[in-house]
């Protein structure tokens, strides 16, 4: 079932290393995202899959066939670009049909396939329009249809939504997922937007400085980040340096306050320093009687973020953020007031590196 395989991919431009020892196996029909900040090598990796860049070493294999040195126009890979890249001189129909025309298909066949693709993206009516007559979101839909029209073995999307407005981005995201699932096409999606990656992907490859940081499904990536980078890049996070008190029971302390950690502190020594992370939404105001992880805090600031209210609070000498949903019945504490907050011992992460 392995469809696409990248083995020991390495790419350098002169002295600078863009991608380092990249290994990944993608299953037939899987939706994989490359997530990372700009310059992390995600786009370079995608371009090596597309054939626009050649790896310095390593191999790209699709369906068991080595593609590493196959030119891009012989790969049968569909590509969608951030800038849409529709051909301005062609109508929507001509754009969508271009790959079929190049492949030498008959007029009828092209016509039929174009109609089918336009109906898939729900843009039948735009058949004879030119790209400049379309909005950005519509152009990107057409670009998607164009890439899919040639029935590629692989669909590559390079930050396809970055140039669009928030509302259209949200809509088109759902559209992409719907079409991908309907066609069952193996897809690689490059993005720097964690929400896009989390909401779209079967699996996410988090990258930083040319290296893979973590590969996992959205739930794993968000809730069990394996490195400090992943924890910081995906979602927001409170971090604090704590000292190991009891490795066996999983207790560490900061500012003289003890913390219980469900995952434990195996392999750490007493007195060793560890980085502890807690997501803001894992805190709660103390509602019932509890013993573990109850903290006295002073409220520093309260900020509305829309559906979420962020409470900034001081526990010991450290500042933490707590997120709660914004609701009219919410009784917000006063700034400067003393409160008690708690978090589950499962919510406390110990970060590597």
């Amino acid at each position: 079932m392995t469809h696409l395989e990248l083995t020991h991919i390495h790419k350098s431009f002169g002295a600078s290393v863009a991608v380092e020892d990249f290994n990944l196996t993608v299953k037939q029909g899987e939706f994989v995202s490359f997530l990372g900040p700009s310059g992390c090598g995600k786009t370079t990796t995608l371009r090596m899959v597309a054939g626009f860049e050649l790896p310095t070493s390593g191999n790209v294999t699709l369906n068991g066939k080595d593609l590493t040195y196959v030119p891009p126009n012989k790969r049968n890979v569909g590509m969608v670009f951030q800038s849409y890249a529709l051909f301005p001189n062609m109508t929507v129909a001509q754009n969508v049909g271009y790959g079929l025309k190049i492949a030498g298909k008959s007029k009828n066949e092209i016509e039929e396939r174009v109609r089918e693709m336009l109906s898939l993206i729900q843009m039948d009516k735009f058949y004879s329009r030119y790209p400049y007559q379309l909005s950005g979101g519509q152009q990107q839909r057409v670009a998607l249809a164009r890439a899919l029209a040639i029935q590629p073995e692989l669909l590559l999307l390079d930050e396809p939504l970055s140039a669009l407005d928030a509302k259209i981005r949200f809509e088109l995201r759902q559209e992409i997922r719907r079409i991908q699932q309907k066609l069952g096409i193996t897809t690689i999606y490059v993005t720097h937007d964690q929400e896009e990656a989390l909401s779209l992907s079967d699996r996410i490859v988090v990258m930083s400085q040319g290296k893979i940081e973590q590969v996992g499904n959205p739930f794993e990536i968000y809730n069990f980040p394996q490195t400090r980078f992943v924890a910081k890049f995906v979602g927001s996070l409170n971090t604090v340096t704590a000292t190991v008190v009891d490795p066996a029971k999983g207790i560490a302390s900061f500012d003289g306050i003890n913390l219980e950690i469900a995952q434990g502190l195996n392999g750490k020594n007493k007195g060793e320093e560890v980085t502890i992370a807690i997501r803001p939404e894992r805190f709660n105001f103390l509602a019932e009687q509890r013993k573990e992880n109850v903290f006295d805090c002073t409220i520093e600031n309260i900020t509305f973020l829309g559906s979420v209210v962020r409470v900034q609070m001081k526990i010991g000498n450290s500042i933490f953020n707590m997120d709660t949903f914004n609701r009219p019945s919410l009784k917000l504490p006063n700034i400067g007031g003393k409160e008690q907050v708690t978090c589950s011992n499962k919510a406390v992460l110990v970060l590597a590196g």
């Binding site: 891009p72 670009f81 800038s83 301005p88 790959g99 890439a147």
Partner: protein
Amino acid sequence: MDEIMSRKRTSFFTIFWGILALLYFFLPIYGTLDFSLRMERGILGFKAYKIIFADPRFWEGFRYSVTMAVITIIVSAAIFVPTIYWMYLKVPQARPIMEIITILPFVIPGIILVFGLIRTFSRPPLQLTTSTFKTDILMIAGYVIISMPYMFRAVDVGMRSIDVRTLTEAAQSLGSNWFHVLADVIIPNLRLAILGGSLICFATVMGELILADFLVRPALGPYMVRLGLTKAYEPAALAIISYSLTWFSLGLLQFFSSRSERQKQQVITT
């Protein structure tokens, strides 16, 4: 109230500059036109034009210059479109060098350029002035250099307005080879730019004087100068004919560009 004043001031300045430009450009043209129609004392008539159109040397020069201009355009476009495309795609860092090279004909006085050409190619080992055919090749080479800045700039601006690299990659990922990328995607989107460069090219060659004069070829430029030194009314008529041709070309260009200007802009802003 203040806004109305500001509006008025704006349009005052616009009109002021507009009228000044009109006077600056069209007073000479009007003068020439008026003069060209006064060959027969006391009446306005087309006598000067009739004389010119009856002169076989005019037609010879016209035909020769048009032929040269068309060949120059074809050679220029064939050289510059693929070269600039290649530059955009593969060696964008070569752009400053290209710019300097193509600005040279602006900066180096025309006479000097011509002197250099003639000096080099009228002696062995590259003697090109021995037959009219070889001389015409030299003419074309010179015209290509002289019109290079216009062609380069026009194509360069055209290339810049499309995303050459991404369009190329999009076409490649759909199965296109280099030939198809150029023919289907790049050139159709540069049509207007190439047309604009060609028109200016055309006008430049039609009016070129020194090269044709020194290489003793029957072009329109030297004919006009000779006429200007010996006649009074005919050169004025010739000037008006040349103006009309130019305006006609410019009108064509404007017609095509305004039709697709909106396209381009919208493509860029969306």
